[in-house]
């Protein structure tokens, strides 16, 4: 049942731009944000909430812009280097942050992201300040494409990545490392008594989550072709947590479902009403109170399995 649902969803996703070409860009961004939300979801499994994760999304996007300016002009290379930049940033920041829990962890993440945001919006000479930077259309596996063709290639590459990386994350969460991460949430002290190095477990999770946000940032930077400090603003981080919780953190697919659902809904709603924040705020509170395992939980329940 789940496999069938999954395949149907993939086919719909792959065919959507053929039916409605304008949807392709929206969906590409949804996938990008889905990656970042998945990163947030990984940490949420360990009971850690980061309201600063947009910083890793931005690190990767800016890394790509600087690399592109320096002449690196290949999709694969940019994607890898951008993700690597985020992972390294995650490792460094994480080494400091994994000592903290609960509200202090959330807060220090926010603090870090705001420093980054303030710096990139202030260093006008280097980062273009609030005007941001342009990202030229890179080549795709060595092929030079025009922008519309590159966008299409990027979209399908995004879907492939979503499946591949999603599978990888699922394996990670199902591994002893992943189980240890969930155990940090339920009873950290017991884990320590068992001799599990909690900080290492968390540091790995943090680096993975930063890298996931980095993949998202890389896709977004190349899809939009222009990057801005607002990528790192705290409300962007808030939205990532929102997407993760809305979609549900129970499974890898959750954040992607949440992200696709929100982006498409947003595109539809923008034409009808401008009280978008109001709608999404009410929806968020409703989901938290009445649908604690998110949209993903809903689908799983319908699919005949216990949520």
């Amino acid at each position: 049942m789940r496999v069938a649902l999954f395949l149907i969803a993939l086919v719909v996703l792959a065919l959507a731009p053929v039916a409605a070409p304008w949807l392709q860009f929206v969906l590409t961004l949804a996938i990008a944000k889905g990656f970042a939300a998945l990163g947030v979801a990984v940490l949420l499994r360990g009971g850690l909430i980061s309201i600063g994760h947009a910083m890793f999304y931005a690190v990767s996007a800016y890394a790509i812009a600087f690399l592109a300016r320096a002449g690196v002009n290949e999709f694969v290379l940019l994607l890898l280097l951008g993700t690597l930049a985020s992972a390294v940033a995650g490792l460094v920041v994480g080494a400091f942050l994994v000592r903290y829990r609960a509200i202090f962890f959330a807060m220090l993440n926010l603090a870090m992201s705001m420093v980054l945001y303030a710096l990139i919006s202030k260093l006008y000479g280097i980062t273009g300040g609030t005007d941001g930077m342009r990202v030229a259309v890179p080549s795709f596996f060595g092929l030079t494409l025009d922008k519309p063709r590159f966008d299409t290639a990027l979209y399908y590459a995004g879907i492939v990545l979503m499946v591949g990386v999603g599978y990888g994350v699922q394996r990670y969460l199902a591994s002893p490392l992943g189980h240890a991460l969930s155990a940090v949430h339920t009873n950290e002290l017991r884990l320590e008594y068992l001799g599990v190095p909690v900080r290492i477990v968390l540091l790995i999770a943090y680096t993975v989550s930063a890298a996931l946000a980095g993949i998202g940032g890389a896709i977004a930077a190349m899809a939009i072709g222009h990057i801005l400090p607002e990528f790192a603003f705290w409300t962007a981080s808030g939205h990532l947590v929102l997407v993760a919780v809305l979609g549900g953190i129970g499974g890898v697919a959750g954040p992607f479902i949440g992200s696709l659902f929100l982006e498409v809904l947003h595109t539809v709603a923008v034409g009808v009403t401008d009280a978008w924040n109001l709608i999404i705020g009410v929806a968020l509170i409703g989901v938290i109170f009445f649908l604690p395992s998110g949209l993903y939980g809903l689908i799983r329940r319908r699919g005949g399995e216990p949520a």
Binding site: L108, A111, G281
Partner: protein, 299 residues
Amino acid sequence: MLDTLIPLAVDGLASAALIFFVAVGLTLVFSVLRVLNVAHGSFYSIGAYVAASVGLWIASAGLNPWLSFPALIFSAAIVAALFGPLVESCLMRWTYGKSEAIQILVTFGLFLILEDLQRIVFGVSSLAEDTPMLLLGSTQIGGVVYLNYQLLLIALAVVVVVGLRVLLTKTRIGRLVTAVVADREMAQSIGINTNRVFILSFSLGVFLAALGGALATPTAGAAPGLGAETMVLAFAVAAIGGLGQIEGAALAAIIVGLARVLAIYFAPSLDAVAPYIVMLVVLLIRPYGLFGQAPTRRI
């Protein structure tokens, strides 16, 4: 040397006063409810909008202009009465004891709702009413003209710090609050009505946020987007001082205020970054803030 030092100090304290009002309510709510209220900045901007509207009404109704001073405090009280009990009992109460993720998200949802509500009620233009600032005139200090209103705000900030401390230590309700802060379950078991304490503390937090916004309007006006901007600054100051520490917030406001002023005077390109750099440095050395303590771990 003295020529620059005096304006530096006055500017530093004046901006510290404004920053303090932004943060004190956030830190108070956290100390009692243990919830980081992400919608705090929205109460600040609603306070600003209501105060500007009331002020404009006073001016258009031809009332005595000096009424605009009590009107600032009155506006903040309206906002607190309107939102405090309602939000606490309908929303916040259901999040106590839940994980931080849930608490932060619920208040983030509230933030999104309030941002749009403000736009629907007050529109997208900025609102401003500067009667209180103009009535008080100006004073020359160290060759630079300052508004007396700026000096009044410094005095008011001191009054709020002292007032809150007296309220918490010398009054009955203050002792109840302190008891709940110290041990929620114990307080409940000896018969303290914690619900009432929560409603009161949350409303006081909303009042302080709205007061901050109201006091800022005579010089700065209210404009859309104010809430989101204010939130991060409030958060930075509260974090530097130590979440839940009122005196900590005051000291943090002075440090951040001075840092911003120094930046504007000597390194203008760093002014907006200054609060966050201070925050990062402080948190790297003392992660729980200047006055904060590491939470005890319970099994």
